[in-house]
Symmetry: C2
Subunit: 214 residues, 2 copies
């Protein structure tokens, strides 16, 4: 994935028409579009391919299964033109290795910790361990919350020069420049862009905020 | 979900035509059909509705996300006629509560522990804690590995009269009667049925093995 603006849009829409409209309007300003299961379940898996004609697509599938099922899910997403797939690390090393192997030249980003309150219960206590495992498994990068720059720094200290993608900017309270300063390569912005009256202009304004820190 | 035979088939096929054929051939013998993401990604989400016309459908989505995304995924699956949805417990209490609430009259089954080697790393050490949390959240039941009847007993001691569904019978080495004796209500069988030359006859033979223990 290129890094022109350091901005990824999380297109958490379930309406395919609206999602494609927003994608087209921001495609000049974002490095990738992240989509997830609700859109795929509502619009059908072909939405991955349609999005890939507009921008690089990261499928945020939070894959969390046994190795064989992980392989089938990642292969299917990549065959539909996903450039990257987000998978959970907590299902362990064999599942994560299988994701990396199934992805081929596409990129696997591992979730080591979730930023919602429930994420404190079982993911946060193992985040460092999971990041070390991710490095061993050859992931392309990690997801780390923009709402907690200290956690981005912790992942960066383990991740070396792997990529860090930080969700939670905008509506969830995270700040793009703080996230990038703390070590994120990309920030992921959802509602603040797709929910804006003018998504293209909202995206440009966040990209401008990031620019001095890249 | 009814319990006539205590048998659920895991239809881990990615070919929709073949999956529907197998589903029709075993529908008299199984209490439900479990399908997962690879089939949905390959055949499209309408496969959930098509399967629901043949049998009760459990969507094994291993949902593992923030509460809002969990809600959207579960709602979408239920609106397409899933009778039950399998979600991970490790994303914490808020996510699990949201799944139960979004499911309405459909059933949520929580994964507290995974049976592949990687499952030992981060899920198994928290399995009991997650099962207790599942009871608090009002899940309909739990998934516990037939390959390890001691783990079924451990979950049963926490789950009270909630349902326990046990995968891993057949190709993975688990034994249907041991799983039921240990406290499972249903066994989930995959390849040993859908991969058989005669899936209907394979299903009947496993149902017969379970019968004396129900």
């Amino acid at each position: 994935m290129r890094r022109d603006t350091g901005l990824i849009i999380a297109l958490d829409e379930t309406d395919a028409k609206r999602a494609l409209e927003v994608a087209r309007s921001v495609s000049d300003t974002v490095d990738a579009i992240k989509i997830n299961w609700p859109l795929i379940l509502s619009a059908g898996p072909n939405i991955i391919t349609q999005m890939s004609e507009i921008s690089d697509v990261i499928c945020d599938l939070k894959v969390a299964d046994i190795p064989n099922t992980v392989r089938l899910i990642v292969k299917e997403a990549v065959s539909r033109r996903a450039s990257g797939v987000i998978v959970h690390a907590f299902t362990g090393e064999d599942s994560l290795r299988e994701a990396v192997s199934a992805a081929g030249t596409a990129e696997i980003y591992a979730v080591t910790e979730m930023s919602h309150p429930g994420g404190e219960m079982f993911t946060a206590p193992h985040a460092e361990e999971m990041a070390e495992m991710g490095v061993r498994c050859g992931v392309a990068g990690f997801i780390a919350p923009a709402t907690r720059p200290d956690r981005i720094r912790a992942v960066r200290s383990i991740a070396g020069d792997l990529k860090i993608l930080s969700p939670g900017v905008g509506a969830q309270g995270g700040d793009a420049s703080s996230a990038i300063s703390a070590g994120a390569d990309y920030v992921i912005v959802g509602r603040a862009v797709y929910g804006a009256d003018d998504p293209a202009s909202a995206a440009r304004s966040i990209a401008k905020e990031i620019r001095p820190f890249l």
